[in-house]
């Protein structure tokens, strides 16, 4: 009963402390929920995508003769035809062309298995006829079924045959598109930032530009797609689905990020540097070009890489300008039809075959690892060149 003697004793105090504790726990659990979403999500993607690293191969006897070149299906035993990939069978003709000695020989080779066999071996949901399944079981018992590293995924373009589909053409499409994006948005963004930060007077025009940049950053990305469609394709007549149009559209989207980060980097350069330059009789351009820009450069690079990473993951505007075409071969110029990695992921996600799910997840893992490495480079650059004035 000591407490009652205390003149400051407040009977509700215990309750208030409890409430405070509850509040803290609630806040903490929110944070933990947010992070567990991330962890769950990553595990889910890895769990779904990792099986795609391996692909099933079956050992079959291939006969190379005139008949099999005409109809490559006949190169292997009739009952195995459903088990081996159609795309692989088509390749037999080319194999003989490249290597004429193979003619009239019979060889035991590891052949790419059909996607349903692959799904069956990996223990996923499959659609195999009972007859075919028994053959696979028999082959499996004889150790004639093997999971090998899936190099096809990294070397091939898109394909309607799941086991033959790869991400390469999308990767090259992404690189071409981002090249256009950076070539356009980097100079324009940096120049805009230099103007606003170093030259502009505080007048109506400058304010209008600033408000504009803020707005541009908040406009939903799909509307940039509408702009690309209406102006670049319909008005200028640039080729649809091409990295040129996609890159230009993304460039306009990346512009605000580059402007904002470049301005921050320029603002980080102390005024004393500029004053010293003026004191030595340099002109404004000379000060900016030779002193302010080099000092701000690491910051500008960091911002540009972050902008690049964001452009890389963007899908919606690119779908609108037609970059979801079916592209089996890698594009070689910026005016050819191409697809990009996120668009490829989108296309695969919509495919009915079960085998595409793991392809999609693997594509996502590839995309995420590229994005994470870009961001790591950005953070590293910032750390390495950070100057405390």
């Amino acid at each position: 009963m000591k407490k009652t003697n205390n003149p400051f004793y407040d009977a509700s105090l215990k309750k208030r402390h409890q409430a405070a504790r509850r509040f803290k726990i609630f806040a903490l659990s929110s944070l933990i929920t947010a992070i567990s979403f991330l962890v769950f999500f990553l595990f889910d993607m890895i769990g779904k995508g990792l099986p795609a690293l391996q692909q099933t191969y079956v050992q079959v006897e291939v006969t190379y003769n005139d008949q099999t070149i005409k109809s490559s299906r006949k190169a292997i035993d009739k009952k195995l035809r459903k088990i081996v990939s159609r795309a692989w069978l088509r390749g037999i003709k080319k194999e003989v062309q490249n290597n004429p000695q193979l003619m009239n020989t019979t060889k035991l080779v590891w052949a790419l298995a059909d996607d349903q066999v692959d799904q069956y071996i990996k223990g996923h949901h499959y659609k195999l006829k009972n007859k075919d399944r028994l053959i696979v079981d028999e082959l499996n018992r004889l150790n004639q079924v093997e999971l090998q590293f899936n190099s096809i995924f990294f070397n091939n373009g898109d394909s309607k045959i799941p086991e033959f589909a790869g991400i390469k053409s999308a990767l090259i499409g992404s690189i071409l598109t981002l090249l256009v994006t950076m070539l356009v948005s980097f100079p324009i963004g940096v120049m805009t930032a230099i103007y606003l930060e170093e030259f502009a007077d505080d007048n109506k025009f400058t304010q209008m530009i600033e408000v504009n940049i803020n707005n541009l950053a908040a406009i939903p990305s799909i509307l940039f797609g509408l702009l690309g469609l209406a102006i670049f394709i319909n008005l200028f007549g640039l080729p649809r689905s091409s990295p040129l149009v996609g890159g230009l559209t993304l460039a306009l989207m990346t512009l605000p990020i580059i402007i904002v980060t470049t301005r921050a980097a320029l603002r980080g350069v102390p005024d004393t540097i500029r004053q010293a330059g003026y004191g030595l009789g340099l002109t404004k351009i000379q000060v900016v070009r030779d002193h302010v820009l080099p000092l701000a450069f690491p910051g500008i690079m960091t911002g540009s890489i972050i902008g690049l990473a964001q452009a890389m993951g963007e899908t919606a505007p690119l779908i609108i300008v037609g970059m979801i075409a079916f592209i089996p071969d890698s594009p070689s110029s910026i005016t050819q039809a191409a697809t990009v990695m996120p668009a490829q992921i989108f296309t695969w996600a919509g495919m009915p075959e079960r085998a595409y799910i793991e392809k999609t997840a693997m594509g996502i893992l590839v995309l995420l690892s590229v994005l994470i490495s870009l961001n790591t480079i950005a953070v590293y650059l910032r750390k390495k060149f950070e100057t405390k004035w």
């Binding site: 509040f23 803290k24 806040a27 707005n215 939903p220 209406a230 404004k284 899908t315 996120p342 989108f346």
Partner: protein
């Protein structure tokens, strides 16, 4: 003699000065023209959408577009009443915000008010990873993992749910928006001067009471601004709903049914073969115009609130 040299050197100096001046001006104009690109982009978006939308409204009634409940493009005597689409967008946005708001704000409160500096510097980048994940990836997650999960759970308690339920895309969209809200709210909360907290604590308030009675009200304009930004992000989000929500304009409030959104219909109208004079294609631009106007208004409101907060506490880095 001396005067002559002086005069000559002055002339040389002046001519050199003139070329420098010319160069300086040239570069300055180059910079100005670069700066106008962003302005041109905004106007480009506005006019390209506006013109095509006007084409659409020449063919179909504007009033019916805003008030009609039948959306049936591609058929004879096609109808373009966008109310079911607006309702779908609205419902999914509300689901997303009811996930993102509490989690985002309370995460921000924990990070800025309770967490130690070392925890905060580790956790904040983690949350920012969530913001950096491409939306197409979230879409796949919603369609392949979350939607079937919701269907199974609903089946086990005897309710029927669609595989394209608004709930699945709404929840995943909410996860995507968490970092947008938490990051900005955290910045705002950290900008509230410490003297306010110390004053409240000195008066005998508990930590939680300090936050609720003092810190949150001070930071309110900033937090409102963060929420509006989140809403605008949810309205314009495309990939998640394209992949996980339905295509059918369905006028309902049942979150377990499939619904469609403005962005889904835009993508649907513009993918594949398109004739640019058909109302089905042009309807995408009418919907785009609505989206543009609404997100623009939301953005202006958000900027207003954040400016209010800035001038009150004189912070510049938000």
């Amino acid at each position: 003699m001396y005067l002559k040299i002086k005069k000559q050197s002055k002339r040389v100096f002046e001519s050199k000065n003139k070329t420098i001046q010319l160069k300086e001006n040239l570069i300055k104009y180059l910079l100005i023209s670069a700066a106008t690109v962003s302005v041109l982009t905004t106007f480009g978006i506005l006019f390209s959408i506006l013109f095509e939308a006007l084409e659409f409204f020449k063919l179909k009634s504007f009033i019916y577009f805003l008030t009609g409940t039948q959306w049936s493009p591609g058929v004879e005597n096609s109808q373009f009443g966008a109310v079911p689409i607006f309702v779908g967008t609205f419902v999914i946005t509300i689901i997303a915000m009811s996930v993102a708001l509490p989690i985002g704000i309370f995460s921000a409160i924990y990070m800025s008010e309770y967490a130690t500096v070392s925890v905060r510097t580790k956790v904040k980048p983690l949350l920012e990873i969530l913001a950096g994940i491409p939306t197409v990836v979230y879409g796949f997650f919603a369609a392949i993992t979350v939607a079937p999960f919701i269907v199974t759970v609903c089946e086990s308690i005897g309710i029927q749910a669609s595989f394209n339920s608004a709930l699945a895309s709404g929840v995943v969209m909410g996860i995507m928006i968490i970092p947008i809200i938490s990051s900005l709210s955290d910045d705002v909360l950290s900008a509230v001067p410490d003297s306010q907290r110390k004053g409240a604590l000195a008066l005998g308030l508990t930590r939680a009471e300090t936050i609720k009675a003092v810190v949150l009200p001070s930071a309110l304009p900033g937090i409102i601004s963060a929420c509006i930004l989140g809403v605008s992000k949810a309205l314009g989000e495309t990939m998640i709903v394209v992949m996980a929500a339905g295509l059918r304009p369905n006028l309902t409030l049942n979150i377990l049914e499939d619904m469609t959104t403005v962005t889904v219909r835009i993508v649907d109208a513009l993918v594949g073969d398109q004739a640019f004079d058909s109302p089905a294609t042009l309807s995408a631009f009418a919907l785009g115009l609505v989206l543009f106007v609404i997100t623009l208004i939301l953005n202006i409101i958000s900027v207003y609130f954040i400016r209010k907060f800035k001038t009150k506490y004189k912070v510049n880095n938000l």
